[in-house]
Every structure is written in C-alpha cells, then in structure tokens.
C-alpha cells in the first residue's frame, strides 16, 4: 500500500546566471494504490505523470506533502533508511534500449540485484541461478537463450521483458510502468500489457501504469483506478471504466475525444470536446488550471480553483465546478 497526500514538486531550473525559473510539476497530489491494486496516470505531455511516478519509485525527491509506504512515512526518513521501503517499488522505464547496460549480459544484469537480494534474505548463492531462470520464465522469456546474450542482441519487446524480470528480482510489491509500451512495436504492445496484468494476478504485484493513451490503461486491470492529471493536479479520479464511459471533467473529455476513431469499425462520439488552445506552461495559475482552454468555462472558473471531490454529477472524484456527462468516445458500429 502506498499513499500520498498533497505531494508537491517544484523544479527550479537554474538559469545560467541570475534568473531562475520555477516549474510547478506537481501541485498537491493525493493518491493511494492498494497492495495488488492497479492505477493509471493519464494526461498530456508535461503534466507531471513521470514526476509523480518517479517520486513513488523513490527516484525523485518531493518538496511538500507526504508519501507513505505501508504506513511508514518517507518524509522523516534519511535517504539510506528509505531505501528498503522503496525497494518494494520498481520502475519500468519507457525506453528499453537505454534501460539495460549494453556492456553487461542479461546474466550479469540479473545477477547483481539477485545476489543483493540473497544477502538481504540470507539465501545461499546457489539460489541466485535458479531465481534468474525463474524470473525470466515469469516474463515469458527462454532463459537458456537469453541469459548469455547482450542487450543489443534482443528485440525491443524482449528487452522490456528483461527489464521487468530485473525488477522482479528484488521481489517488488509494485511496478511503476512509465509509458512502458510506447517504444515497442505495435503488434507486441499488448503482450507487455498482458504480462503486467498477469504478474498482478499471479504475484499480487500492484501496477502503476503511466500513459497518455487512455485505452491501454484498461488492459492493466478493470478494477484499476484512473488518475487524470493536468498541470500537476489530479482533475478526475475513479474506476477506469467509469471514467471512460462517463467522463465529467472537460479535460478528460478532451483526452478521450482525441483518440482516433477507427472508421469502419467505430463511430465517433456525439459530443467530442476540443480544447481551445494548446498547453502552455506559463499560463497563469489563477482559478481552474484548465480554464483558459476549456470550451465550457464560466466566470467563476478564472478566479477560483475547483477541488477534487465527488458531486452528484458523477460517482468519481472530479475537480470541476460544472461537471457534465458528455458522450465523447467512439462506439463500436453495430453491424
């Protein structure tokens, strides 16, 4: 179980001389991912998904709020003490090409964390080899052929599986998959998604899936939660299928409307929403963050920031003063 309350992250981009620019990457985000559960973060490029994922995986510090793993608050711990907790959360990188050291064989890549794990848990060294084969089998690779290879001798999909296997070596409780399939061939993407789902079911590992493609979020598990993030703020949050079927925040609606329609198989939604402008980081922070781009904005939106809550308009949490259900997504054509 990992929870966060009011997590804030500000990047200070140091100008070469005097000027310093601040980027509010996260503005008080709450999340809770139960053991064995699933969650997906979606949002436009630059809205803070990766930052949040990295904070959850312990790879990035945060400036405010609270992150707790299994009830233990990370804020008060020293970096060294945090390590054992964050071990439970492993990150799967977007780019399987750079996530593996090109100078080390898969065997070497797996051996290092396994021997660490063996030491931690007091297992004998002989356990390591067996475990290496095991994790590779778990991710659907043939240990005999893969172990002695160098990363460049594997395809993208295989590499991503190795990356997942490496994460499994330390017995994680949660995997953070940041755009884990975006660099993999289309025909193979689903395989990786299925693998993640499979690991969830078989090992009880929870999965945090970060993507800007809403459709893939479904494939991690239908019991998962969806977090729609916009400019460092969660604007809508709830069960995946609920949000896909009945989004109430105009931003979520824009995201869903943008998904290409498979003409011939699908028919477009009735009320697609198109934002007015494109994302601009330097827009003012006053009022609703989405107000400037929102086709439905009202006076109030530009002065007051809506909070994430549940209203009678929808069962999921949303941060909008005027939530309204709109049918935006494409539907399969009835044949």
């Amino acid at each position: 179980m990992i929870t966060g309350t009011g997590v804030v992250k500000t990047y200070k981009q140091r100008g070469k001389v005097l000027g310093a620019r601040e980027v509010q990457a996260l503005r008080g985000v709450d999340f809770a991912i139960p053991k064995g559960g699933a969650a997906s973060f979606i949002g436009e490029s630059g809205c803070g998904k990766t930052t949040l994922g990295r904070i959850i995986a312990g790879l990035e510090t945060y400036d405010g709020g609270e992150v707790a793993i299994d009830g233990v608050s990370m804020t008060e711990l020293k970096p060294k003490q945090r390590q054992p907790h964050f071990r439970k959360i492993q990150m799967i990188h977007q780019d399987p090409y750079s996530a593996l050291n090109p100078t080390r064989t898969i065997h070497q890549t797996l051996y290092a964390p396994l021997s660490l794990r063996a030491k931690q848990t007091g297992r004998p060294a002989s356990w390591i080899e067996g475990r290496a084969t095991e994790v590779l089998s778990l991710v659907g690779l043939d240990p005999a052929t893969v172990l002695s290879r160098y990363p460049h001798q594997l395809s993208g999909g295989m590499r991503q599986r190795v990356v997942i296997a490496r994460a499994l070596t330390v017995d994680p409780e949660m995997l953070v998959a940041d755009e884990a399939v975006s660099m993999i061939d289309v025909s193979l993407r689903l395989g990786i998604l299925a693998l993640l789902k499979d690991l969830r079911e078989r090992l009880g590992v929870s999965v945090l899936f970060i993507t800007h493609d809403v459709a893939t979020a479904r494939y991690i598990g239908d019991d998962g939660e969806l977090y729609v993030i916009y400019r460092g703020q969660v604007v809508e949050r709830g069960p995946v299928d609920t949000i896909i079927a009945d989004p109430v925040h105009p931003y979520t609606q824009s995201l869903l409307s943008a998904i290409p329609v498979l003409h011939g198989l699908e028919q477009p939604g009735e009320h697609p929403v198109m934002p007015l402008e494109s994302l601009n980081e330097s827009q003012s922070d006053e009022g609703c963050l989405f107000a400037r781009r929102c086709p439905f904005r009202a006076e109030r939106c530009t002065t007051e920031r809506p909070l994430l809550r549940i209203t009678e308009a929808a069962p999921q949490e949303h941060a909008c003063f005027y939530p309204e259900r709109r049918s935006v997504i494409a539907r399969p054509m009835e044949v």
Binding site: K16, V17, L18, G19
Partner: protein
C-alpha cells in the same frame, strides 16, 4: 538582449574573481622561488671586474625596484596595484613598469598568433568539410590521419623542423625577430613586407600546429550536422545546394567558434616554444627571460596577463556564442 547582458555580468564577475585568485597564486608561487637573484647579480658584476662592495651597491639600486616589507604587506600592495593595472616594476628592464613591458611584448605575440589561428581555422575548416564529405574514401582517411598527427605533434617539433629546413638547410626565410630595422616603421611597403617576411615561419608553425585540430573538429562537427534531420528536410524541400551548404556550414562552424576564441587564449600561453625557436619577441620569450633573470614582477605579470587573456577569451567566446546562437540568446541551455 538582457540575457546577454546578464551573462556578461555573471562572466565578468567570475572572471574577476578568477583573475584575483590567479594573481594570488602567482604572487605566492613567485615569492617562493628559490635562488637569490641579488647574489647572482653581485657575482655577475664581480666576475665582470667590479669591486665587491660596488657590485653590492649597484645590485641594491637595481633591486630597489622590488617591493619590500612583510609578505602580507607586499601582497596587499600587489593586489591594490592590480586594481590600477599596476603590476610592479621590472628589474631586468630596470624600473620600467611591468605593464608597459608586457604590452610591448604582447603585440608581437598577438599578431602572429592571430594570423596563424585564423589561417589554420580557415584552411582547417575547408579541409574538414572535405574530410567529412569524403569520410569513407581514402583521401578523407588520409586527411583525418594527417590531421590527428599534426594535432598530436607538439608545436616545438614543428617549429624545429621548419626552422631546420627553411632557416638552416635552405635559408630562405628569416628567424631573427619581427622586422628589419632599416625600414621606417609605418605603412610603407618595405616595412610591411619585412614584417610579413619575418612572420612567415612563426605563423606557419602556429597554423600547422593548430590546423590538425581544426580539421578534426570541423570534420566531426560536419558529420554531426549532416546527420541532423533538418539537412535532409531541406533537401526534401528542394532547397538549392548552395543554401543547404550554408546551413551545414553555419551549424557546423558554430561550435567551433567557441573553440576558436579559447584556442586564441591558449595559444598565447603556448607561444613560448615558437617564440624561443624563431626569436620572436613576444610574451613567451619574455616569460622565459623573466624566469631566468628572476624578474619576479615581470614573471608574475606575464603569467597573469596570459591567464587573463584566456579568461577574456572564454568570456568573448561565450558571449559570441550567445549572439550567434538563437537558442542561447533566448536563455535556453545548449551544451556546446
């Protein structure tokens, strides 16, 4: 514009701190040099037949130009003097302010260094482009290897070889100073001709020594730019070859300009060998002279000037970069 101004301010601040630090370092190094120049001068005068006591007096007069007092006192005086560009008095050039002696020498270093660098830069760039285009051919290989070799060979080896060939074996070029005295200084053909004639060997050495670096840098820069998408894009838009060439050239040369400014600064420091070999009366020669004569003030001054010029070159390089590269101009960081 403000970004350039801000960079300038920042650089200047850092440059000044740097110069102060270097001045401090050089002050203390120079003061800790062993060897007693006073005794040496007395001995020299005695060996020339002067009576010992008279030799002592003569030496005392000569070394009266040296600062005295406690080390700390000397240091503060030195640093205060520095603020007025006063680097003290030279002993060998008795009583002459170090600044004046340095400036006189500096012009003889700057001119050939500048000429040699610009020459090698131009030739190196053209050959570098060629080597990049022909990088898979024999000729390109040859250019690259010869470039690495020239880049690798130290200046003095080239200088000695050139001197042996053109001043000794086939003595067609002078290696004896900057200009023939018989010509009235000024803008007359004789004087300028003599100036050029005397500069040929040192300039050629600078140029040869630097050329290898340019060809290598330009080659790799061009190869990088050639792989950039916008070049192919321009081609696919049907841009004229000449325009595409200009695109390549400008993008490839840009990073070299920084190196150019830096190398100018560094060459000032490297002038020692060439000036010694060709007897060119610049800063390098002055530095050696000041060291063998134990002229503390001059030594510190020459060292400081060379370092300061490098710092200035750094600043100029960076500012220049900011002016010509729009990415820097607008404050975006570009790793050069």
């Amino acid at each position: 514009m403000t970004i350039i101004a801000r960079r300038l301010v920042g650089h200047l601040a850092r440059g000044i701190v740097m110069i102060l630090v270097v001045a401090t370092i050089s002050f203390f190094i120079v003061r800790s040099i062993p060897g007693d120049p006073v005794a040496a001068n007395v001995q020299k005068l005695i060996e020339q037949g002067m009576a010992p006591q008279a030799a002592e007096q003569a030496t005392r007069v000569l070394y009266g130009f040296q600062p005295s007092g406690s080390l700390w006192h000397q240091y503060t005086d030195y640093m205060l003097g520095l603020l007025h560009f006063n680097l003290g008095q030279s002993v060998t050039h008795a009583g002459a302010p170090v600044t004046g002696v340095l400036l006189e020498a500096a012009k003889w270093t700057v001119l050939p260094v500048l000429a040699g660098t610009v020459l090698s830069f131009l030739v190196g760039i053209v050959m570098g482009v060629y080597a990049a285009i022909r990088r898979n051919g024999k000729l390109g290989d040859l250019l690259a290897i010869s470039g690495s070799l020239l880049h690798g060979v130290p200046q003095y080896v080239l200088g000695l070889l050139l001197s042996a060939i053109f001043a000794t074996l086939i003595p067609i070029l002078p290696a004896d100073g900057p200009v023939d005295i018989l010509f009235d200084p000024g803008f007359n053909a004789g004087y300028l001709g003599s100036l050029v004639q005397h500069a040929v060997l040192p300039v050629a050495t600078y140029a040869l020594a630097a050329y290898g670096g340019w060809i290598l840098a330009m080659k790799s820069s061009v190869v990088t730019v050639l792989g950039d998408d916008f070049i192919l894009a321009a081609e696919l838009r049907g841009m004229k070859r000449s325009i595409i060439f200009r695109y390549i050239a400008r993008n490839a040369i840009l990073p070299l300009f920084t190196i150019l400014a830096l190398s100018l600064g560094l060459l000032l420091g490297g002038a020692v060998f060439i000036e010694r070999i060709f007897n060119y009366p610049g800063l390098g020669l002055l530095l050696i002279e000041s060291i063998t004569m134990r002229d503390y003030a001059l030594m510190g001054g020459a060292f400081l000037l060379i370092t300061a010029s490098i710092i200035v070159a750094n600043i100029v390089a960076d500012l220049f970069y900011s002016v010509i590269d729009p990415r820097v101009r607008s404050g975006e960081e570009v790793s050069a």
